[in-house]
Symmetry: C2
Subunit: 116 residues, 2 copies
């Protein structure tokens, strides 16, 4: 399902440009336009899910694929064995700005704690 | 599958105590012992998966359930509509200390960017 007003659905549909680093039948990944680490890629499902808060029982496979793909991109970027952080923001307190669920894959440096 | 030397497998098995906030056939959630926010819960699969880096194609449903459960705990804690952050650390650069995959659910305050 695609939402006409959703920025990331437009990237999925190819009507807004992005630096795509991976795409398959289920998942697209592209460079964050405001990177916070040497690697900062957004991994999203093609289908529109607004956020973690709107996940349903039928979405497990989809969001599992998103995390698995993030891990595969991390390996392809040489982020292992050092490691990387994956972050999902939900709602304004966490800074979610686009309401199409996305995993931030961040790597290439060390990460402090707490995570923001 | 359970690993005898894994701290979180021991929590799953009940041989190490934790403040459990949810358990079902697939997922367990418990309070982080070093909380970084008013809500800081760890959500893990019962089955042993070491990290994002060891995910396989057969694990999508399992890790999808972990994220979905994190979202449901967030709602039950009243973290919406303000929001919350979910973080998965993989490897030493991100600060992963227990090699049983876990999602940090953090909420009850605002979160800065970058996430660590």
């Amino acid at each position: 399902m695609s939402y006409p007003t959703c920025l990331f659905c437009k990237i999925v549909g190819g009507t807004i440009p992005a630096t795509i680093v991976h795409q398959d039948d289920h998942v697209i990944a592209f460079e964050d336009i405001n990177p916070q680490a040497p690697t900062h890629v957004l991994v999203i499902p093609r289908t529109h899910i607004a956020s973690l808060d709107t996940l349903g029982d039928g979405d497990h496979e989809t969001v599992g694929r998103v995390l698995h793909r993030a891990a595969e991109i991390a390996r392809s970027r040489g982020l292992m064995p050092d490691g990387y952080r994956v972050v999902l923001n939900c709602g304004p307190a966490a800074g979610q700005t686009v309401y199409h669920i996305h995993a931030h894959l961040l790597g290439g440096r060390g990460f402090g704690w707490p995570p923001g």
